[in-house]
Symmetry: C2
């Protein structure tokens, strides 16, 4: 069994500053990180939009990873550009510049070959656009939406509408608290279930993640890293890896979800070890399996 | 095999304010929390000092838990009193008042019956006093020291001297960063090993704990709580439960340490569910074992 994963989200150029280095116009965006992470496990169909300045080498890179680009739109104008800066502890991020470019008018149309995708990730993007994609799907098996704090502030109504129609919802702990105004993360997941999603995953960065599902909670560890070079895209890698793993396994969701989160965690940990997708690009399935075994050893009691 | 645990630390009266309630003069202090936590697993010998205002009902409570009070000093004056306030999210604590009382001149002398204790916890106390106790021990099997940020600031030299002579050292993540000026927790544990301790445990509150030992890292989960009433003493309960468990098991340290941290985590989680020692006081071994099994289920993948 190896179903494919449809991933819609932003395809971007990221300029990332950290206390140690500066890297202009890296391949970035929620869909890029998620698609590359998922591609280690299952065939990926990408939906996104890029402008005339999008470097051909990034297209080659997608193709080398076997990512189907039929759903990637090429639009006149500039690719979405994000510039940000990390503080010394790598936990606090400051956006320096956001230039939406062609993303501002992104109106994704699913190719016919995409409409029957069984596993779907609505990676971080305006909730209305995520919803627009969701409406074009024919009986998907499992749909997960990711988000970011921006949408909680400027598109809350759209997000709440979307949540009624997704199976899973992924957000970080501060977003979970903000969304339902509940400080305790366990209680917050309960309230988020009431908004629609059967599966709620709260990401806690270096502290791991929590899954809340009909069969209860799963406390997912993070991989303890000695060196974090650039955490940009770690959350997208996590959920991309998770969806890719689920698609590769099929079968009962409940059982696969826990291991899927572990695989997502491992891909995300590699993502943090290089700028943009630089470390992830050099990954292979063997290195992933090795780190999964390491994580098993690190958490066994 | 059921060796005993010697615990030295503060015995205090705690007045604790939270957004929801106020509780004056509860039984508190690092030694009280640690001793009660350890008492579920092994016989405990307490070393501490109390003043004339120490309520007899607290002495009865220690005795009911089977805690040996031969080493508890009664001094003229007032018991150490701490008053603090928690913010709404229960993570930020503010000290309102600290009255050292009889703790200011605490000069613990170990009864002969205490000097051969195999498992020793130097719970949070001035490092010079911890060291003074350590010097009176005859060939202990395993000595662990706990600390707090205050001592890093006002008694750093004493603490560094002490660390050369303990097997294990427990501190929280912000203290670990501060002690060795390293932001990455994994790298920080490496540097702390170089100060002496073979076993370093970094507590991360609601995010669990990390053990660094000769055989590598152990990532210990926290128990996800729906309601945190009062986290005072959770760290002391954690390390007390850990030492009690180790004493009850004996045998190879490396294997017992991981499970010991899980037991410590579980006792600490109960501690958070009531003010002071109120919830812990109603615990029994069966409830602890049940929550350990729950934690196993919550983390299995």
């Amino acid at each position: 069994m190896n179903s494919n994963v449809l991933i819609v989200g932003s395809t971007a150029l990221d300029s990332i500053k950290t206390p140690r280095a500066e890297n202009p116009r890296l391949l970035g965006g929620s869909a890029s990180h998620a698609a590359v992470a998922a591609s280690f496990f299952a065939p990926v169909k990408l939906v996104g939009v890029v402008g005339e300045d999008f470097p051909p080498r990034y297209l080659r890179f997608y193709r080398e990873r076997g990512i189907d680009l039929t759903g990637l739109q090429f639009a006149p104008g500039k690719t979405f550009h994000w510039a940000g800066e990390y503080e010394i502890n790598m936990n606090n991020r400051r956006t320096l510049r956001t230039e939406l470019g062609v993303l501002a008018d992104f109106n994704p149309q699913l190719p016919v070959s995409y409409q029957h995708a069984p596993y779907v990730l609505l990676a971080n993007l305006a909730p209305a656009v995520q919803h627009h994609v969701l409406r074009q799907l024919r009986r998907p098996r499992f749909v997960v939406a990711d988000t970011m704090d921006l949408w909680l502030n400027v598109a809350r109504a759209d997000l709440l509408k979307l949540l009624k129609h997704v199976d899973g919802f992924v957000l970080n702990d501060s977003e979970a608290r903000q969304l339902v105004k509940e400080d305790n993360v366990v209680l917050a997941t309960r309230r988020i279930h009431r908004l629609g999603p059967k599966y709620v995953i709260v990401k806690k960065g270096e502290h791991g993640a929590i899954l809340s599902s009909p069969s209860g909670l799963f406390v997912c560890p993070a991989f303890p890293l000695e060196k974090v070079v650039d955490p940009t895209g770690a959350g997208d890698s996590f959920v991309g890896g998770l969806l890719g793993y689920l698609a590769s396994k099929g079968g009962a969701l409940e059982t696969a979800l826990r291991r899927g989160m572990i695989y997502g965690t491992v891909v995300a940990s590699f993502c943090c070890e290089g700028f943009g997708l630089q470390r992830t690009a050099r990954l292979d399935r063997r290195a992933i399996e090795q780190r999964v075994r390491q994580l098993e050893k690190l958490t066994r009691f």
